[in-house]
């Protein structure tokens, strides 16, 4: 074991890290990511499509004619004009919001001195950070990575999308610094600045949820997003439910064998927290649709999205409430509730993103939905299945969480209860 800058680093061989069980699980997920990246990048940057020039250069060519037919009547690329944001954005939102939610909850627990959460804080913060990085990986794959340097070269400072850049440039190092402070708890100077850093990180958290809401709220044409009441608050409430559920799972997986009494105590605290967040989410959803544009509300509450919406409410609110309200001693109920919440809140994010695009923009003259060409049906609800590569990247992003957490935990023992 070595000590560097006040923190202890475990002497673990690379081989034993890479051959651990958790890493094998990560590899499984990462294989999906690899397949997705190759698939998406091949289609995006290497796949050649026939053009009118080809027809001019090789008139009468059977192959060119076939290629032109595919170009004109084929699937039409990875992005549909009616629904530009898709599963990438869902996963990005989920990972970023839930990750940030975990960090927020831990920061508040530190400030109000909830001792058990403070002891396990390094592990939670690492989990939150790993989720944020998995979310950023997803969004990177969605963007044209070859042009990303223009975020620095020609910034538009007022754009919600651009504000993500300075936000995460500040936010990620700040969280890493928080983890460092916890691990380096013996140093006196660390104790002196810890509270200031905590308050700063809470402020950045508020800014983050505000910026995320601005990102959606600026799309004035998508009324689901612009009429959701107090959007930053909705993002916080829905994220905290997912965050608390993630913390239950993390607590159970990490501490169930090593620290049983503390594990039970932590589970009990987070169970209460989860219950409150689930109740808040239920109350929010119950009132939000009084304010949401009725065209969008109709699709979600009574139209094509209704079964998904009620499944979301059941999984994220109803079932967990029943499982968590009575203080069952068996951890199985809490685990089951947290799994339902995680799946339910993910479905909730899908409804939010896909629902925003669900009402077609094509009713421009007020005489009904128009069809854009003879080759398409009239659409009264917009939904497109994401391509296989996109799904694979989203599945693969879970591997990034496992990989990052395992690497950091192996060398810095972040999951060990820390006194500070």
């Amino acid at each position: 074991m070595a000590n560097y800058a006040g923190i202890e680093i475990n002497a673990v061989s690379l081989k034993s890290l890479l051959t651990s069980k958790a890493m094998y699980v990560a590899y499984g997920f990462l294989l999906f990511a690899l397949f997705g990246v190759i698939d998406v990048f091949y289609e995006r940057y290497f796949l050649l499509s026939a053009t009118a020039f080809d027809a001019g250069l090789a008139p009468g060519s059977r192959e060119v004619a076939e290629a032109m037919r595919a170009a004109v009547f084929g699937p039409g690329g990875e992005v549909k004009r009616e629904a530009p944001w898709s599963l990438y954005i869902v996963n990005y939102m989920y990972m970023i919001y839930v990750g940030s939610g975990i960090i927020f909850i831990v920061a508040v627990a530190e400030l109000i001195d909830i001792k058990l959460i403070k002891k396990a804080a390094a592990g939670y913060l690492t989990l939150g950070l790993a989720m944020i990085i998995a979310g950023l990986f997803t969004i990177m794959m969605d963007l044209n990575v070859l042009h990303l340097h223009h975020m620095f070269l020609s910034p538009r400072f007022t754009s919600g999308m651009w504000l993500m850049l300075p936000l995460y440039i500040v936010y990620i190092p700040l969280v890493i610094f928080e983890i460092y402070l916890i691990l380096a708890h013996k140093d006196v100077w660390v104790k002196k600045i810890a509270v200031a850093i905590l308050i700063l990180s809470l402020l950045v958290e508020f800014v983050e949820f505000y910026v995320q809401a601005k990102l959606f709220d600026m799309n004035s044409a998508r009324h689901l997003w612009t009429t959701y009441p107090v959007l930053p608050l909705y993002f916080m409430v829905s994220s905290f439910a997912g965050s608390a559920a993630m913390m239950i799972l993390h607590t159970y997986l990490v501490y169930r064998h090593t620290d049983r009494s503390k594990c039970a105590g932590l589970m009990s605290i987070i169970q209460k927290l989860t219950l409150y967040t689930v109740l808040a989410l239920g109350a929010y959803e119950a009132t939000a649709y009084l304010f949401i544009d009725k065209k969008w509300a109709e699709i979600i509450l009574f139209g094509a999205f209704k079964y998904y919406f009620y499944a979301y409410l059941a999984m994220a609110v109803g079932i967990p409430f029943i499982l968590l309200f009575k203080d069952f001693t068996h951890n199985g109920y809490k685990i089951l509730a947290s799994v339902f919440i995680i799946m339910g809140t993910y479905l909730g994010k899908m409804i939010f993103v896909y629902g925003g695009n669900a009402y077609p923009m094509s009713d421009r003259f007020g005489v009904g939905f128009e069809k854009y060409s003879e080759y398409e049906p009239v659409r009264d609800v917009i939904f497109f299945m994401p391509p296989l590569g996109e799904i694979a990247i989203v599945v693969g992003s879970f591997g990034i969480i496992i990989l990052l957490y395992k690497v950091v935990d192996t060398y810095f023992s972040v999951s060990k209860m820390q006194e500070h």
């Binding site: 004109v72 004009r81 919600g160 993500m164 003879e374």
Partner: protein, 226 residues
Amino acid sequence: MNFAMALDYQSCIDCKACEVACKEENGVQLGADKQRIWVTQSEKSIFGEPFVALHPSQCNHCQDAPCVDVCPTGSSYFALGGIVMTNKDTCILCKGCMEACPYDARFVDDTHVAVDKCTFCYDTRIVNGEMTTACQATCPTKVRLFGDLDDEEGELIQMLTKRKFYVLKEDEGTVPKLFYMLPEHDKNFAMNSVDPGTNIYTWDTYKPIIEMAKAKRKPQWQTMQE
């Protein structure tokens, strides 16, 4: 200068010449869904008889365009004359502009991995001093009329002062600059091709709206990005 277009859409015969001319002249990607301009159809029936309204469409080059605000790299911008442009070299494909557009006017050009849209032929014609667009030049029934709203003597203003018109999705507050000429002498067609609740304008009533939005946005107008 403040460029805009009037569409006498009742004259559209859905020949697609405008779509072909646009694709050919501007090198737009092949594909049924890859259109800078397009003709939409809304089908109805009147007393059991089918009725199809043809709506030639494209980017509305909104005077107060929301797509410009959301762009993180300035790839979407106002060119001189208030034309909404995209620079494919700086587009990071965040697709925020596509989400912000109430008219589905933008699509992804897969050959450049960037967002594409109608430019009013700014880069191919207007910067060279021409005052027509490819779609206008090719239309056999003269549906489109491109022009300058600041030129009181110009053909566009002359037409707008003579006839009533409406714009699309006015409630979105984007102040569109595609003016759809109301088929005033064919009440049946007018009734079935536009929502009866739509605001119908004369140039005198719409001009102050345009001027206010122009005053807000003109400081952002810039020369064409190369």
